[in-house]
Symmetry: C2
Subunit: 132 residues, 2 copies
């Protein structure tokens, strides 16, 4: 019996984000289905928890702090099949400065885990924010 079963899809996504903020990618990726899709819409997509971890690792390693602010979030369905959509400001502290990216996220929950994580944002905004 998976401990995720006690959560709602809304709570599952919030827990996932908390793990990323704590740079605990093992705990975060344990919440993903084996075939999960992680789609950074204007960039690229990867599949599977290992690929997600590989993509995020250099990024979390480069940040001294991670703070993803969930501005709005709404969900439908249940842990068997649910949808969670949110509006966020993903904040990363790199050196002494905070980089901020406003975006909207789409999550699909299947059998207690996250099967899809898709973020919509403007790539140029992100690149400019990273460049400082």
């Amino acid at each position: 019996m998976d401990h995720n079963c006690a959560m709602t899809p809304d709570q599952l996504v919030r827990t996932f984000i908390k793990h990323i903020e704590a740079k605990d990618l093992d705990s975060a990726c344990a919440l993903l289905t084996p075939d999960c899709e992680y789609d950074n819409v204007p960039m690229s997509k990867v599949f599977g928890p290992d690929a997600v971890k590989e993509l995020l690792s250099p990024f979390t390693a480069a940040c001294s702090e991670i703070d993803w602010v969930v501005v709005r979030q709404a969900a439908s369905g249940d842990m068997t099949w649910g949808v969670v959509l949110n509006e966020r400001v993903d904040r990363f502290k790199m050196g002494e400065r905070w980089v901020e990216l406003p975006l909207a996220g789409v999550f699909e929950v299947r059998d207690g885990k996250i099967a899809l994580w898709r973020d919509y944002f403007d790539l140029t905004t992100f690149q400019k924010a990273m460049a400082g």
Copy 2:
């Protein structure tokens, strides 16, 4: 008593989109609060139904057909104060060709009308799609 009161926030946003698809901007903008914010995140924002109509008019006029596919949508709250988030593919037929833009929308509902409409998308993707 406004007829919108019979709707849910989810239905209000779907009705708003239907009016835009029908190029009926008067009916669409009648669903907006007087101080509504329309924010195309990587571009600009405008305030008020008149400004929204002014921004959309040349666009709808340039399209022979408009088809906004709501891929996923979730809502919370009620018509007094609610939030609707969706994932869409906004499709515009220009001449003989369909232009498609994948995006995520954020709507805030207040007192039976839409007080915020914010779309997250990649501007370069949109510009390339428009250029063909």
